[in-house]
């Protein structure tokens, strides 16, 4: 068990490219921290620097208070689970899991006991004598976890360990990874590009973009109080809706109509010196079919009317897609998020709004629908800096 501190850790490649810039993270003993971000954001580089597989260009990495920059991976007492699992194909499952213990010159009886115990935890007992090539993806993943836990290291590093599994298995494994981590209480750093994994697994989440830490906080905090446009767009699924809007005399002129700001939001925007032109963000779950709401509830928000383009019924809820007139909010952050999602080529004029409605909504494709949204859940962003103007920190 250990606490891991990254103090202004930077990775610069010989060609001058910066993969990670001055990363400051303090990971407490036993904590489960997620590094999340789109591809190329430096999350794997950061993990490899903690592991010792990549050199740290500047800054300091401390494990349990001691500087670890120059330590070889084998001297850091950290176990890693790779995206590809990296199982040794010429060894059986038992030999794979015993490998770290054999290198540590542990005696045979202890090796056997520890491997059996880990196999028990991971439900691998009946596969111990098989080769990795004869295992399914989920079993290989568990062997990789087993190899990490047998020697009770100070910390686990996991590099997208679930991304090679199919969706259903990924959900199951996600739960068991969380359970295992709680059971062992070992400090864990987990890298993923999947915001669902980030939200469900971590005690704290670190959102990265272009090698720079955007925000660190509990999943719920990041969801409710994103520090900037990037975090707001990255966290949450489906992601937050963004439209360009104008602040005028305490009211917000937007493609969703003119909205009277609530006192709380007006105060925050004033404190942040909000510019006239802003980006308005609303999460899909803060919309509702106006026909389903009581009058007094409705008074807490505003409504607009638009034609439903697409309706996805999930059984427990419905997702309605609208096109509203007006400019699409275009900022560097949002374009990067769109590029990561592969959505840059989707043509369209105006802005598409996604709203999550109750399953009992009577919305129909092609018909106009009166949509209500909660005015107190709005978020305003500065289009030039991307900063959240309604951030209450």
């Amino acid at each position: 068990m250990a606490e891991i501190v990254l103090d202004k850790v930077t990775k610069t490649y010989p060609d001058g490219a910066r993969a990670v810039s001055e990363m400051d993270i303090e990971i407490a003993d036993g904590e489960f921290v997620i590094l999340v971000g789109p591809s190329g954001c430096g999350k794997s580089t950061a993990l490899n620097m903690i592991a010792g597989l990549e050199d740290i260009s500047s800054g300091e990495l401390r494990i349990d208070g001691a500087r670890a920059n120059e330590k070889a991976p084998k001297d850091r007492d950290i176990a890693m689970v790779f995206q590809s699992y990296a199982l040794y194909p010429h060894m059986s499952v038992r030999e794979n899991m015993a490998f770290p213990l054999r290198l540590a010159k542990v005696d045979d009886a202890t090796v056997r006991a520890k491997v059996d115990e880990a196999a028990e935890i991971l439900d691998l007992t009946q596969h111990l004598d098989r080769r990795p090539s004869n295992l399914s993806g989920g079993q290989r993943q568990r062997v990789a976890m087993g190899r990490a836990i047998v020697r009770s290291p100070k910390a686990f590093l996991m590099d997208e360990p679930l991304s090679n599994l199919d969706a259903k298995l990924r959900g199951q494994m996600r739960t068991s990874v969380a359970k295992l981590q709680k059971q062992l209480g070992t400090t864990t750093v987990y890298v993923t590009h999947d915001q669902t994994e980030a939200m469900t697994l971590g005690d704290r989440v670190v959102v990265l973009r272009g090698g720079v830490v955007q925000q660190i906080g509990s999943p719920q905090f990041l969801y409710e109080q994103p520090a900037n446009l990037f975090v707001a767009g990255f966290i949450g699924s489906p992601s937050m809706n963004f439209v360009a809007a104008t602040l005028e005399d305490g009211a917000l002129k937007s493609p969703l109509g003119t909205i009277t700001l609530t006192d709380r939001i007006r105060r925050l925007a004033e404190e942040a010196n909000a510019p006239r032109e802003v980006v308005l963000g609303i999460r899909p779950e803060h919309f509702e079919d106006a026909a389903l709401l009581e009058e007094e509830h409705k008074a807490r928000g505003a409504s607009f009317s638009a034609a439903v383009d697409v309706l996805e019924s999930m059984g427990s809820e419905k997702f309605a897609y609208f096109t509203v007139e007006g400019e699409l909010a275009r900022t560097a952050e949002l374009q990067e998020l769109a590029a990561d999602a592969g959505a840059t080529d989707v043509p369209g004029t105006g802005s598409t709004i996604v709203a999550r409605l109750s399953a009992s909504s009577g919305a129909r494709v092609g018909q106009d629908l009166q949509v209500w949204f909660d005015a107190d859940k709005l978020q305003l962003f500065d289009p030039s800096s991307g900063k959240n103007l309604t951030y209450a920190g």
């Binding site: 592991a51 010792g52 084998k74 590809s84 194909p89 490998f99 290198l103």
Partner: protein, 279 residues
């Protein structure tokens, strides 16, 4: 039933094709084997299957030092050259496959150049150099050029195999507490084994079959290998044709190659790395 007939027809076609190729490839070998079993009188009768069988030719070659000593030279020189070339080749190939070092392209280019260089043009300089250095007609005098010409081949084959091994396995070994040497010995080398055996076979065959260096850089039985020695075979009198004994010697020197390949073939298990990573 229809499926069954189709399969039978397919099988027959493939079997025929296989037989044609095997016969085409083996006729010269069978011919020389046939010659080696013929008596002196029936040697030139043109029959594929000897009418009179004899083992006299084999008895003759093993009766003199003219064959046994070169056989020992061949085995010793080829084995030592193979071990050294594969050992050096492994290190060089690993560096080429895994590391980025200055001059890597130059190294690969030069080794390719050596492989393509016409060996005959080097015989005269080598002859002079070796005489000056006292290497002429010694084992090292043949081992050194063999290593030089076998290395490029070894590096090529081995670096292809090393490139196939997922790099993450080495990282995993390091994370599991291995030193770089342990990671190479316990994880990378076992996985590269098929490549090492393939390379060893190719290098051994190259050394074993070489005639040019063997005839040019030796003068006595101190280092003369079998292919060179065969050309010095004589009959018991100057009027006698040594065809029968040459054929017998040719058959004998083919046997180690066949054994070598059969022995190592079982270890060349393709796809050994499957299952290491999802793919």
């Amino acid at each position: 039933m229809v499926m069954g007939t189709v399969t039978t027809a397919r099988k027959t076609r493939w079997a025929l094709l296989d037989i044609v190729i095997v016969v085409y490839a083996l006729i010269p070998v069978l011919w020389i084997a046939s010659l080696s079993f013929k008596t002196k009188d029936t040697l030139a009768d043109g029959n594929f299957i000897p009418r009179e069988w004899t083992l006299q030719n084999y008895a003759d070659i093993f009766a003199t030092n003219e064959f046994i000593r070169p056989l020992i030279n061949s085995i010793g020189i080829a084995t030592i050259a193979t071990v050294i070339a594969v050992g050096l080749g492994m290190m060089a190939a690993y560096a080429i496959a895994r590391l980025d070092f200055p001059g890597k392209r130059a190294l690969v280019g030069v080794s390719l150049l050596i492989a393509m260089f016409p060996q005959i043009s080097l015989v005269t300089p080598l002859f002079n150099i070796e005489r000056e250095l006292g290497l002429f007609d010694t084992w090292p005098g043949l081992i050194l050029p063999y290593i030089t010409f076998a290395l490029p081949l070894g590096i090529y084959v081995l670096s292809a195999f090393f490139r196939e091994i997922p790099w993450e396995l080495e990282k995993a070994a390091k994370m599991d507490g291995a030193t770089p040497a342990q990671a190479f010995r316990r994880v990378i080398a076992p996985l590269a084994a098929p490549g090492v055996f393939t390379t060893a076979i190719l290098v051994f065959i190259f050394c074993w079959n070489d005639f040019l260096f063997a005839i040019s850089l030796t003068s006595t039985e101190a280092a003369r290998t079998v292919p060179a020695a065969l050309s010095f075979f004589t009959g018991t009198s100057q009027f006698e044709d040594p065809t029968g004994t040459i054929a017998a010697a040719a058959v004998v020197i083919t046997i180690p190659i066949v054994l070598f390949v059969l022995f190592f073939q079982r270890r060349i298990v393709a796809g050994l790395t499957s299952g290491a990573v999802k793919g």
